[in-house]
Each structure stands twice: as C-alpha cells, then as structure tokens.
Symmetry: C3
Subunit: 346 residues, 3 copies
C-alpha cells in the first residue's frame, strides 16, 4: 500500500540523457524519456501494437519510436504514426504527469487530473551557488516504510554505521518527535562530544580542527509521501551548535527520496546537500563515496528485516519512543491512503 | 498451448555426441542419447528406480545406464537389467519417437502411435554439395508464438537490427501474406536499393560488388508446428531479382526451428543455408557469428514483451497488415490445437 | 516433514567463532552465538523490537546486541536492556536448547521441555588421540531423506564416484540390512579385490602397499533423526578383513549429519574420522579435500532427483533390496513423526 496521488522521484536526469529508461514505480511499468532536450515524458512501458517495452525504443523528432516495429508514440500516449499504417484507431496508452525540477525527475503515478506540480517538495538548495549536492541510487528489497522507519530513528547509526557516523552518544541522548500536520520532525542534539570519523572528515573539508569537542545535531523531517530530509552537522563546542556561524561548523542536509517499486521493493535516492565549500568538487565526490558506503550498510539489514516480517505477518512490533518518528510518519501515510481510498469509493 | 502430435527439433547431433542430453520439450523432460553411433533414442528423463535423471547416466552397449545405481534402460523405456536385481516387474518409462534427419534430431512429444517420420519437414539443402549450413541455439523466455510473430514480420529488422540487416526500405515496401492450407507465406520485394551491411558482406563473400544497387527479397514460410524458413537474398539490380542467375546474387535460407520448452520458454534453433561458395568454411563461420550476433538482439525484446503480456493478459494486441503473417500462422496453430483436443476427447 | 523433538547438528564451532550465525533448521530461523567463549546459545533470529535479524548483531558481555538499534538480548530470549528504554514488557523470543559436544553445535528445534543432552549421538572418536577428524558442509536442495537413501545404499559409489571409491565389486556383492529398534545397519563385505584410488591413497597414507588384493567393507549405520555413520575400510587380503590388526588395514568412519533446512533443502555435514596416523595433519587435509570432491559429485544428482520427484509426486518409486537401508530408515523416521504427531494431539 502506497499513496499514488503524489509526486515521487522517478530518476535523475543522467539516467535519461542518452536513451529512454524503463522503471517500475508503485507497480506501474513506466518509460521515462526526453521528447526534446528540455522536456520529459512518462508513459506506460507497453507498445499498443504488440506489447513490446517502449523503453527499448529511441526518441526521434519528439516521438518515442518503438524499437520493435517502429510505432511512433506521442507524449500523450497516443500513437502518432507507424510505417505503412493508419493509426487513428490505435488504443492510447496511459501517460503519467512528470516534471523535471530541483535536479530530479518527478512522477505522479496516480490520477493525472489531481497532479499539481506546485506540490512538489521544494528543494531550496537547488540552483543556489552556496550549496553543493551529490547522491546516488540503491535498489532495496523492502517495504518503503521500513526505510522511513530507518531514517526517522537515527539511533541505528550507533550500530549499523559504528565506524563512520555512529557513536555511543546518539543512544544516550533522547530524541524528540513533533508533528505538524503532515510534517513529522524527530530531533536530537548532542553537546560537547567528539566527532565520529565522517564528521571529522567534514570538519577538515571545511578547514576546521577535527580533534576538539563539538556539538552535533540531527533533525529528521518526514514529509509525504516518503521523503526524509535530515539536517545534520557539527559545530565546534560552545559556538552556538545548530545556530553557530558558518565558520565554526560543518553541516548539510541528508536527502532521502524513497520511491516504492512494488509492495516490497524500493528505489532509494540518497544524497547530501551541503552549505560549505560548495565549489570543491573533490569534496563532493569524496562525501558521495563515503555516504554511499555508509548507506549500503543498511541494505542487508533492511532486506533481512523484510523477510522476517513476511515470515511472521502477525507479530506486532514494538513502538518505542525512538520509533516515534517512524510511527508518526506511518500515521501520515495511513491518513493519505485512507483519503485516497475514500475518494476512490466516492 | 502447443501442438504435441508433431515433430520438433530437439537438438543437434553434436549435443549428444559424447553423452546423453537432458532437455525439456513441450513440458516433457526428455533424455536424448545414441544407443549406437548411428541411432538416437529419447526417453523420459526419470529412472524408474528412484526418479534420478537418466541424462546424468552413460551409454553402455546400447543401454542407457543410470548414473545413480546402474539401472540399464532400453530404448523402449523398459529396464533391461540392474546389478543384482530381477527387473521384469519394473514399470516402463515413456519413450518418444525420435529421428535424426537433415542434420537435426527430431522428437514427437505427443501420441507415439501417430508419429510418421515422413511428415518431418524436408530440408532440401541438407546433403546437397551446392549448399552450406551453419547455425546455433538460443534459449529464450517467451511463448513460441511470439517468436513466430517476430519472424513472420520482418519490418522489425529496421528497428531491432538497424546496423546489420535493417534498412528503411523494409518499412516502406508493403508485404503480402498468402495462405495455402497450413502453409503461410509473407513476402516482400525491394527494388533498386543499397544493400545493408550484412548483405554487403554476403555480396563480397560471393565475389560481387557491394556498392551498387540491388534488388532484395524476403519470403517467409511458416509451416507447422512452428518452423519458419525465410528465403532471403540480394541480386545486382536489373539482373532478375529473386530469379537472377547465381553469378549475380547472394541468397540463402534463414532457418528457424522454434521448439517450446514450456508455455513461456523456447529452444530456438536458428541458422542459415546458403547456395553460394558452399565450400568456404571461413565464410560459413563468419556468417554464423554475424547471424548469432544479429539474432541475439531479439532476445531482450522478446523476453520483456512476454513479461508485459503476462502482466496484462486481457489487453488485446493490434493485428496490422504487417502482422498478417503471424496472425495467419497462429490460425494454423489454433486449428492444430483444436484438432488435437477433439481427438483427445473422442 | 521432519522430526523436531530431536538433536540436529546446527553448525561447527568455527562458524560461530567470530560472530553470530544465522541458519535455518527445520524451517526455524535461528541465530547461534557464544555468550561466553565456552558456551553457546540459540535464539529465534528475530529482534522483538522491529523484526531485524539478530544474527547481524554482536555479542557484548554475554548479551546478543541487535545490530540495528542495540537491543540487548539474553540467552533465554528475554530482552535484558536497550538504550534509553524499559524493557520489562518486551515480548520474549524463543530460545532453543543447544549443546556443544563432540566438535559440533547441536540444536533441538522442537519442544524444549523434552530436550535431553544425554540423547545426543555419542561420537566416540572425539577427543580420542588415536583418531583424527576432518570434514565440511554442503547446502543441497533436496529432501533430507533422499540423502539418507543415498548413504544407506552405497552401490551408487560404482556410478557416481566411479573414479575414486566406486568399483564394480560393490554392485556384485549383495548387501545385508538389519534393524534393531531405531538402528538400521546395511553392510557389505568384499573379499580379495583391488582397492580403488581413494583407498589406495589411504593405504599409502598408512604406509601399506596399495597394489595387492584387499578385503573391503562398508557398514552403514542409520540412527535418528538422520545421522548416517559408515564404517569403511580395506585390509590386506587374508589378514582378517574388518577384524584385521591395525598394521594391516586403513579404516575410518564416514560421518554424515543431515540437517533439514526446509522440506526440500538440507545442511549436509560430512566428514571422516580415521584411526590411523591421527597426527598426520597433511593426511587429514588431503582426505578432506578428496572426500569433499567425491561427495560433491552427489549434489547434481540429488537436486535433479528432487526436481523430478516434485514434478511427479504420485509416482511410486521402487524399493529394491539395495534400497532396504533407506526404506528401513524411513520407517524409523515415520515412526518418530507419528509419535510426535500423536503427542501433539494429546
């Protein structure tokens, strides 16, 4: 169960730069492509002629040409032409609302009539020269909500990521969860601690000493359908923590867009937007490599957790205070699902 | 659904040269082997002793000796002997009519009483010194009829095989389909065009200029159960086309024997029989390599098409005039299936 | 169907030396670990917090610490602690009786109240300086009873292992099966034959001539639930055979512990305990390598046999006199299953 009347990240621009991309989103097999260099389209990945996947085709003069027999498909799902054929009676295929924005391609897998690009989550750092961004994509065989849980409770860093961003103090400092409408926030502030290896690297990257006490923060923001943006950072202790001046801290936003592929698998777009040394491409690369390595540590855990839950569907899991972020996020999701369902019934 | 009272290509002689071969044909698990150097046998791949696969055994003095406990099986499916055992009461296993002919091993997976080797499709080039043959085998996860469709509509060459045998003119020249009993023919004649790369190679192979206009033809012959033989060739333009004298053309027969493994997978025996430079083994090899590379381009398309069709079993596909060859071939198949079914009921 | 109120080999000590081990036994997902260097514990591999696999955790001060959020689990399945949480109300997970003995870790997957370590099969060679042991582990996709059949009928050596331990005389000499309660014995004695390659190697390993006639024996002992221990050996002919003095023979015990993973897969612990040159580690190694190679020859046969039997569930297999060992062993198993079932009903 996933909300469908909402915007999900479908792919990144580089994935459709040279050829169409076939990707399943919320159980819909979709082909993403660029009719023109500046536009993007999303259609059912199913040629009305013989069911071939259109994603094996090519774009030619704005049309997606089926790679099997040359049917020329328009962005609206209507066949434009086919060699030697009249195509007026051809059945249309479904087209999906799709928008390129903030460095991602966003798709709306539900009712197209409801799609409003204004509701796409605003990524304020995009296009801002004071910020830099780097990220990647993982495919993980788990329910998208297990990943939301994971990200809305960062105590797992102590255990899963013990050699990079984990540290005992995360466990020792309670987190606090608040809910404001569909916005869930779980935050934790740790004072006067030593930075773990990843943050030592970031401090050095920003030209700061890495061997002095710091204040560290984690502020996880869940917003529908399954976005988790996490403000993270460290500041030299006593300089104001989260509010310290830029020259005393290294901070960034962990970006997590979780796109359901099926009920038990996701496309996980992860990344980091940072506000220091934005022009240092080598730093961007080393952060991306480091983050990718850290985030890959979650995969086995999530996939085996999923298998355990499938084996025992009736077991009720605990909901502790550290789980409050995930629990509240799931309530938001449940509300959206119920709304979609009642709208569908009405 | 596939006709079972018919001859399918099961394997090539080299596949059973040194040891038995286990292969599934029309959902029957069969072991093929040579009781003697000049004969071939086909049995259920199931030892009556404990169910071991006989295909892991060895041939010894005409018997197929089970590789597990040494049961000695005769070509008729009756156990001949077993160390230390009386075998008279052993249940027989099924034997299948099997014939070696025209360079292939043919099997009849249906009612043995109806099997008549005279009905095996005659391959006139076999054993004829004016012809040469080379080919290969692919395993593809698709319904055998999708491959029949593929081969009875060569407009796909323009798209799937654009760098080798495809060319725009295939699309531009209409094809014509005729039916004569169980024989379906789809033909296309293109005049005064430039040869695509594969045919340029063939022209050179036959000592002909490759940079002058040619007439090109494709005549696809479907015959039951799922054989598609395609007369293809090019002749220097104005020399008579299909009927040109041998010194003006390069022509051959594309050979396609499609053997269902299961409802959604096939053993695809492909090859080319040519009537020029038959003694040039290097040419045979280079054609085989080229054809294998070209034909492998269909695999991803067919397997993804199959998955699309399984996902939407209720969608009716279009049947355009380019599809007439496949449509008519399926009608022949449907007739055979209905006949088998009514015979089984009676 | 497998007996659950019984001891199975779960793993070897080296598998839990450095970290917990997740392994499925009789369909139960279990984590095995050492709370202390000298003890072993077995729990459901399911963290009561969020269903994470505990086998991805670490042992810390006797507790198994979940690798996701740090829940600390005790050997009894009760949560001991969790950072920042009161754990008294946490649901317990199942713990399994587990014992380290004779060089193996044994688990009781059924009713813990019935588990008596005294019923663990006694391995008399363990800890005896006159004996040496080496072995390994295979995962095989077959019903555990197919492996029991395999080992209780060694005529298959002639066919499956023809180049190592097989020889024609195995087939020619009848075996004899006796049953004593739950103990099934199938034995075969071959006199005045030449030793096959594996036994020639063993004779040389024991400083004996390998090119003279020998007496050879195989005495297969089945005991519940699925242990097969086989006394095997060769003695120079005329020296007393099985009863020959140590200086005239090379003999050992083939060890086979077959642990069901699921209905159609097993963990197969194989090895060899020998009573000659026990201190020769190089010999132990070369025997283990040789045995591993030989035993791997059974895998394809067993897995394909399993697939054949699944395809034809209604076919009754033959039960010849060579199969008597397997047939009688299955009767013992059936008796245990019936007893468990009637106890469960009562």
């Amino acid at each position: 169960m996933f909300p469908k009347n909402t915007w999900y990240v479908a792919c990144t621009p580089d994935e459709i730069a040279d050829q169409p991309l076939g990707r399943k989103v919320c159980n819909e097999s979709i082909v993403f492509y660029r009719p023109t260099p500046d536009s993007v389209a999303a259609l059912e990945d199913f040629c009305p002629h013989r069911g071939a996947p259109l994603s094996l085709g090519k774009v030619c003069e704005g049309k997606l040409v089926c790679g099997y027999h040359g049917l020329e498909m328009g962005c609206d799902g209507k066949t434009v032409a086919m060699p030697g054929q009249r195509v007026r009676g051809f059945p249309a295929i479904r087209s999906f609302p799709v928008v390129e924005r903030y460095g991602f391609i966003w798709v709306w897998p539900g009712d197209a009539a409801l799609a409003d690009p204004a509701t796409i989550h605003h990524l304020h750092w995009h296009g801002n020269p004071e910020w830099a961004y780097g990220g990647g994509l993982f495919h993980i065989a788990c329910d998208y909500r297990l990943m939301v849980d994971n990200l809305m409770d960062l105590t797992h860093e102590t255990y899963v990521h013990s050699s990079s961003i984990g540290q005992k103090e995360i466990d020792e400092v309670p987190c606090k969860t608040t809910v404001d409408g569909d916005h869930v926030v779980t935050s934790r502030f740790m004072e006067n601690i030593m930075a773990p290896p990843f943050w030592q690297m970031a401090l050095r990257g920003n030209g700061l000493a890495d061997d002095v006490p710091v204040d560290r923060w984690q502020i996880c923001h869940f917003t529908p359908p399954s976005h988790v943006l996490i403000e993270v950072g460290v500041a030299h202790a006593g300089k104001g923590g989260y509010d310290a001046a830029p020259e005393h801290k290294a901070n960034s936003i962990v970006v997590d867009f979780i796109t359901p592929e099926t009920e038990t698998s996701i496309h996980y777009f992860w990344g980091m937007a940072r506000q220091f040394k934005p022009d240092d491409q080598a730093l961007t690369d080393s952060i991306r490599v480091g983050q990718g390595k850290i985030f890959s540590e979650d995969l086995e855990m999530l996939e085996k957790q999923q298998r355990n839950l499938l084996k025992y569907p009736d077991r009720k899991l605990l909901m502790l205070n550290i789980d409050a972020g995930g629990v509240q996020s799931r309530r938001v999701i449940d509300r959206l699902l119920a709304a979609e369902q009642s709208a569908a019934t009405a």
